[in-house]
Symmetry: C2
Subunit: 337 residues, 2 copies
DNA sequence: AACATCTTGTCAATCGATTGCAAAAAGTGT
DNA sequence: ACACTTTTTGCAATCGATTGACAAGATGTT
């Protein structure tokens, strides 16, 4: 069961472990004579030698590992971003591959603190936080004094971190503009939990355009406690009580939109005739609904790539002059509006 | 930037590092006087001391880490299983928490080998492979000589690993029985890629019941190259060319079923009147279709829990007499059949 | 008072790879 | 053959925590 280690390999070849280490490394391989280097590499391959990365990490102080915090693994968009980040971190063949550690916080600050501590104990080279809330600010700032911390998807109000975000405000604005062009005069929003900057910005962008194009936004905004279809269902009741009655609504994500649509179906209301609706994220479900859902496409690829690059660059040089970026989403008009 | 390490903490407290180590450990804390122990724990907490787990791993030979291989992170069922496994691994407060490492193989054997090697280099305590294919057999067997390897979701034909699986054969049988009870005489399957044991077993269970209840299964089976809705769409053309023409079809998962249904809509065919359809997995989409989809509910909780337990037990004792288990899924009848 | 037992803490080796420094070997020019 | 540079290799310390062996001190027993 005992694994072959470097000392044994060196012994077998009659060289020093230092020579083996250098021969197998990327950056110091030139320090060993070509013939010896090849001999060592052959033997290592043949013997199935695999270096112990925990030992290497201890000595080097670099683990080639990044921690990814995500609030909800059930969220399709988050998963898309994570897997795309994976690819960007793993793909580059010049640099050593980076192994991601993933943790689900479920938006619980205690769990988040615990998970961040675990990451730091495991000596991650950086942390990417997807969709963190304000409750995490202090912990993340703490962590940032040890390793680079990069934010993706959700900004944190009042804190500056390198980040890769979607321009949610622009997204909200696009929806309002769309409603204006279709001649809607009275509109309403079903807003996600307001502790998330994402939803705040979507609301803001939408309202701004409504004001400038003199569309009436019903004074009562609908707040969903969670951004889920169940909450969307409940929202319809509230919506119908609103006066003046809106003819179009902007749901802050596709799940909320779905809930509203299902509730409408129950009541015999038709979409878009009775009520037009636009969602956000362009998830799979938006395409497959009986009435395909208009929605805002999330710039997954760009956000992920930038997050990956920030991490790579900040790991290479902690004082790297990073640039946080906002990526513009795009409206996809389908039958629901 | 330099982190506080155990030596410094010990120095500050005027005790030996060994004493600190024992005071902070779970199993050896009783070896240090209660007063000293508390003093050390207080100080450690106050100073924000966090042990370096890579050093501990190196010394102990245990990383408290497991590697999870998954073929496709976009698959809702896989994600559900992963996050449920997380919870079972992380939750137990008596044992130290286990950090999962996740890797997406995309069913590419080369990538799989690379990722497994990375896991082993990082000294994972065990590997869980979700939905592996036969192409991975040799690599997994290799890995199994170093650490416990547990299979979930998909068995590998001809190889014995501790596993936690869904009884796909029973699931297929349920669908056939359901068709029989509804009076269908001619049925057909849209089968997922046959290199996956999952789909083989679903097909088998279905066919067995068809035979015993003298339902005609059309001789031409439809094989989808991938288990996606696009493949499902293409499958409908093939289906319509089949003779005798079936009145009900069993799609091997919900995505395939969705594809078939969308293609039907394009042709103006009605579900279930013209063609009844049942899927598999009970994914979100099955609930939200215009005609809610009958499907087989996947026993996510049971599979995940058992996989987690296998891993825990095998880590604690590699010679543990494990029991591989099959969990029975359940048919959910909705409007589509 | 002598001896056994238990408690508490220290010393030093260890896990496996990396790397600064210096020694040995090989190459170069005169 | 000699002085000198350059290449190649070896030695030994190091990263930070854990643990077996053992010593010193405290407590108990007869």
């Amino acid at each position: 069961m005992a694994r072959l280690n470097m000392r044994e390999l060196a012994l077998k070849l009659g060289v020093d472990r230092a020579t083996v280490s250098r021969a197998l490394s990327n950056d110091k391989a030139h320090l060993v004579a070509p013939a010896t280097r090849e001999r060592i590499r052959q033997a290592a391959g043949a013997a199935g030698y695999r270096p112990d990365l925990t030992a290497a990490t201890l000595r080097r102080g670099r683990s080639h590992t990044v921690g990814i915090l995500v609030s909800d693994l059930g969220n399709e968009t988050f998963i898309d971003v994570i897997r795309t980040i994976f690819r960007h971190l793993d793909a580059r063949s010049d640099a050593p591959p980076i192994t991601p550690l993933i943790a689900e916080t479920l938006d619980q600050p205690d769990a988040t603190r615990r998970l961040i501590h675990t990451f730091l104990s495991r000596r991650v080279d950086a942390i990417i936080s997807l969709a963190s809330t304000e409750a995490d600010t202090a912990i993340l700032q703490d962590a940032a004094r040890e390793v680079p911390v990069v934010l993706a998807i959700r900004a944190i109000a009042g804190a500056v971190f390198p980040s890769a975000l979607c321009d949610d405000r622009a997204g909200g604005a696009m929806v309002a503009t769309h409603f204006a062009e279709r001649g809607h005069k009275i509109v309403c929003q079903v807003q996600g939990p307001p502790l998330s900057a994402t939803f705040k910005n979507r609301a803001l962008g939408f309202s701004e355009v409504c004001a400038s194009r003199s569309i009436v936004e019903t004074p009562q905004r609908i707040f969903a406690e969670t951004a889920t279809s169940a909450a969307g269902k409940r929202a319809l009741d509230a919506l119908l009580a609103v006066s003046p009655r809106p003819t179009a609504i902007f749901a802050h994500n596709d799940a909320l939109a779905l809930g509203v649509i299902e509730a409408m179906r129950h009541r015999g209301l038709r979409c878009p005739e009775d009520l037009a609706i636009v969602g956000f994220n362009n998830t799979q479900l938006s395409r497959i609904l009986a009435v395909p859902l208009s929605t805002v496409d999330y710039p997954v690829e760009e956000v992920s790539r930038h997050a990956g690059e920030l991490v790579r660059n900040l790991i290479a040089d902690p004082s790297y002059r990073f640039e946080s970026r906002l990526f513009t989403p795009s409206l996809i008009v389908r039958a629901s509006s």
